[in-house]
Symmetry: C2
Subunit: 208 residues, 2 copies
């Protein structure tokens, strides 16, 4: 039942006149097209299922990055007369951007799941795939920017910079730095999955 | 001449038997396909030319970013007994990465120009377009990461961070900060052009 459905959707416009004027001639290409469409449908359905699984992995990575960064804070066990030493993600604008961007990417991924399912059910609808590739590309840029900005700050926190006279703060806030680094790695994994999703969609679009 | 050439390249496999058995039936769809291919060819050629122009703009932006960041350094007019105050891009690893990534992107863009020209001459070769979209996606990630990492450092240099006790260095190195900010902006422009190139290629792939 699925096979006939998918072969209906291939839009090779052979006019009505062909089937009426040359019956024998018309049936041969129609059968060839049908077999090809079924094969291509199976191939594209595999790509669509892989796309769906990758999106689930990306949701896990992006949510892990958001949650790790968003919940991490460390209060040092000693304090002076004036203030207590505390490190949290909202002390640094790059980390705030990181949390927002990863949350946006997670939300987008959840919203894109229905479209990915449509891609599995109807592998020949290229409009859905085009929509996904366009938004995925934007998300590649967003999540890579967030991860890179946070990574450069994490690097600075780890090793400091003598030229600019910026001291490494990870010596004091070791646990904070560790969980932040983990969040950055998770975000880079999500970015890599997004890049792969774009490539996969491009290959699927090419062979429609 | 071009019209016949392009119609040759549309791969709708109608077997030989069709034209021998039903002559009248075969000529009608062939003509329809030919007209459609010519229209699509013109449309795709326009996209390919636009792609080429955008690549030239991206080369300008990426080269400007590389050159600005690579050549910028500032030596303060006063010095102590021990050292002279000097700021250069290779003091900060994020800026080094920025220069390397932008140089790589410029090099890739120059190398991609011949492929873009092939896309103009033969608009129906989807393999070239697929190759370009895959590498363009990688470059989106690379150049966005470079720009974002540098931007977070530039932001820190401008406004500092009281929580981490990092002082703004732009108060001393005003000219350095200004040219570095310019380089970051140029790099973000190049990244935006790359995102647009990927979308353009995706649309062109969809309608092949």
């Amino acid at each position: 039942m699925e096979a006939t459905k998918s072969s209906d959707e291939t839009t090779i416009h052979i006019p009505e006149s062909t089937s009426t004027r040359g019956k024998a001639a018309a049936t041969v290409p129609a059968m060839v097209v049908s077999t090809k469409a079924t094969q291509a449908g199976g191939w594209k359905r595999g790509v669509a299922i892989f796309d769906f699984i990758l999106r689930l992995c990306a949701i896990a990575a992006a949510l892990a990055a958001t949650a790790t960064m968003g919940t991490t804070d460390q209060t040092l066990p000693f304090f002076t007369q004036f203030f207590q030493f505390q490190a949290s993600y909202d002390d640094l604008p790059a980390f705030q951007f990181f949390v927002i961007a990863n949350a946006v990417a997670s939300g987008y991924l959840v919203l894109s799941l229905p479209f990915s399912i449509v891609g599995i059910v109807r592998p020949h609808l290229t409009g859905v795939r085009l929509l996904l590739i366009i938004f995925d590309t934007v998300m590649v840029a967003l999540i890579t920017a967030a991860a890179a900005a946070a990574a450069s700050i994490v690097y600075l926190a780890h090793s400091g910079n003598t030229n600019a006279n910026w001291n490494p703060i990870c010596q004091q806030f070791g646990d904070f730095c560790q969980s932040v680094s983990g969040a950055v790695v998770a975000s880079f994994i999500a970015a890599a999955i997004f890049i792969f999703l774009v490539m996969l969609s491009a290959v699927a679009l090419k062979r429609h």
